[in-house]
């Protein structure tokens, strides 16, 4: 009974913690972009102001029931996913779910967004979401290979035991030092899954007017802003759990999470973006080759 109560508390606490950390990740992204462009950048609470303002809009334009449900699916997919990601002191339902359930849940938000955008009947939105699903197809191939490689190496699909196995011998037993090729391929897939430059094919503000977000105003865009902070958190925590030994305590855990995100953000604001077919060709060539080579070493 006591254990059940503890699990329920953790399942409630984990999304809240994830949201707060995610807000700071969004802030870091915007600050980093500003510093790269020699600007000052937004204030500390800017991501929060944006979300509160969007939810505080007085006229909300909905395009129908599926539009609302799509956004709930997009946010809910990530909320469910973060309860499967162990953080220091809180395992949630990570030992029951495992890495394969997590992989499924990480695809739900894109599909939810596709549902929601489908009802808007805006051609820019349709083009955007078709691009988003194409890019998901592109980065999921290396991502799945990386996941299977890591699971094979540690002979487990439970994130809790993967993290425990990495924490035994310090840096020497971290995923990144035992499987560097898989870690590199995983970084590629992480960057593409965040949808930042040069893989930002589906937002493309100058071309298709932010694609899936084009008809989203008010609380819908607020929901997407919430989703973005969850997305950054989920992607970085998953990478830290697979390759950087998870978190021994909150300080090292947060340091690792933010450090992982600095790499794609620092690259993102220096480059223009690929075309859709170039992205698919790139993702199915280099990260897949790296990941297959890495998996060959793992199986050896």
């Amino acid at each position: 009974m006591n254990e059940t109560f503890l699990t329920i508390t953790e399942v409630i606490m984990m999304p809240i913690v994830a949201f707060i950390i995610g807000l700071f990740m969004v802030l870091m992204m915007r600050k980093l972009a500003a510093r790269i462009q020699r600007r000052i950048g937004p204030g500390v609470f800017q991501p929060l102001y944006d979300i509160v303002k969007l939810y505080g809009k007085q006229t909300q334009i909905s395009h129908g029931l599926i539009h609302d449900i799509g956004i709930i699916m997009a946010v809910g997919g990530y909320v469910a996913a973060v309860t499967l990601l162990p953080v220091p002191g809180m395992n949630g339902i990570a030992d029951k779910g495992g890495i394969i359930t997590l992989t499924y849940l990480l695809m739900v938000p894109s599909l939810g967004l596709a549902l929601g955008v489908g009802q808007c009947a805006n051609p820019n939105g349709s083009i955007g979401i078709s691009r988003a699903l194409t890019s998901m197809l592109a980065y999921d191939i290396p991502f799945i290979i990386v996941i299977f490689g890591v699971a094979t190496h540690f002979s487990s699909t439970s994130l809790v035991s993967i993290i425990a196995a990495q924490q035994v011998g310090g840096f020497g037993t971290w995923g990144i030092s035992e499987m560097p090729l898989l870690a590199l391929a995983g970084l590629f897939a992480l960057h593409a899954s965040l949808g930042k430059h040069p893989f930002e094919i589906y937002v493309a503000p100058a071309e298709i007017a932010t694609g899936p977000m084009v008809e989203m105003g008010g609380k819908f865009l607020g929901g997407l802003f919430v989703m973005q902070s969850f997305q950054l958190y989920a992607a970085s925590v998953l990478y830290v759990s697979l390759f950087l030994g998870g978190g021994e305590n909150w300080v090292t855990f947060l340091l690792k999470c933010f450090a992982v995100l600095i790499i794609p953000f620092a690259i993102a604001y220096l480059f223009p973006r690929y075309r859709t077919e170039d992205l698919v060709r790139l993702m199915w060539k280099w990260p897949v080759m790296l990941a297959l080579l890495g998996i060959a070493f793992v199986m050896n």
Binding site: P42, L48, Y49, D50, K57, A121, M213
Partner: protein, 233 residues
């Protein structure tokens, strides 16, 4: 529709209610503060004033430190920034854009052309005063105003929002008949937009005695219901 039917179209008016809960007031102030610190800007760059916006946004003056970001879709935006003269053809698009934005929405007219027509005063094809066609919160005069002036104006708007004075968007619902009359004067009596402003005014309880009038009667007599676009390959 017969004329006698049109007279029956009446909007139910609900008197404004004061919020008595003190926490609600604190919450409202917090939301107002967030509104003033986070403004998404849709810049409708019609004229030469557009050239002053890139320096205001980029590293020299950096609007983002005030929470002002450019957005590309009217659904996402809070501020409609009109930078220069508005020809009659453009004005139609500006009104369509304005009506699609989610309230609270603010309009800023930059350059003297939006104030009184500027150097296009004698042009037959240019709308002279922007606030005859939809409410404008702030004008930034100048030909063209420098980026400092643009940012100064935006900061004034921030103060207005914080003090809960930037409510001109409600005027569009309350005085819709007046604005629609001016629009019909330019575009002819067949003018209609995809947004059902009267319906929105009723839904959000923003209708006033001047929402309906002779011009909305003309609108309702010519209005054809919107149909979904035909799908073609």
């Amino acid at each position: 529709m017969k004329k006698s039917d049109l007279d029956k179209v009446k909007i139910k008016q609900i008197p404004a209610q004061k919020r008595t809960n003190p926490f609600a007031n604190v919450f409202d102030e917090f939301v107002g503060f967030c509104r003033s610190r986070s403004m998404f800007m849709l810049h409708y760059c019609t004229g030469c004033g557009a050239i002053e916006l890139p320096p205001a946004m980029t590293s020299r003056f950096d609007m983002e430190r005030l929470g002002i970001q450019p957005m590309v879709s009217p659904r996402q935006a809070d501020i409609l920034l009109i930078t220069g003269y508005v020809s009659i053809k453009t004005l139609k698009r500006v009104i369509l854009t304005y009506e699609q934005m989610a309230a609270p929405k603010y309009v800023i007219g930059i350059c003297s052309c939006t104030v009184n027509g500027g150097m296009y005063w004698q042009s037959y094809a240019t709308a002279k005063k922007l606030d005859e066609y939809f409410p404008v919160d702030l004008y930034i005069a100048g030909c063209m105003p420098r980026p400092e002036a643009v940012i100064e104006g935006l900061q004034q708007l921030m103060q207005k929002i914080k003090a809960n004075e930037a409510n001109s968007w409600k005027q569009y619902y309350k005085n819709y008949d007046y604005f629609l009359g001016n629009q019909q004067h330019l575009f002819g009596n067949n003018w209609q937009t995809p947004t059902d402003v009267i319906g929105e005014a009723e839904t959000y309880q923003l209708a006033g005695p001047n929402t309906l009038g002779e011009h909305t009667k003309i609108l309702q007599s010519v209005q054809t219901p919107l149909k979904p676009l035909e799908m073609k390959l």
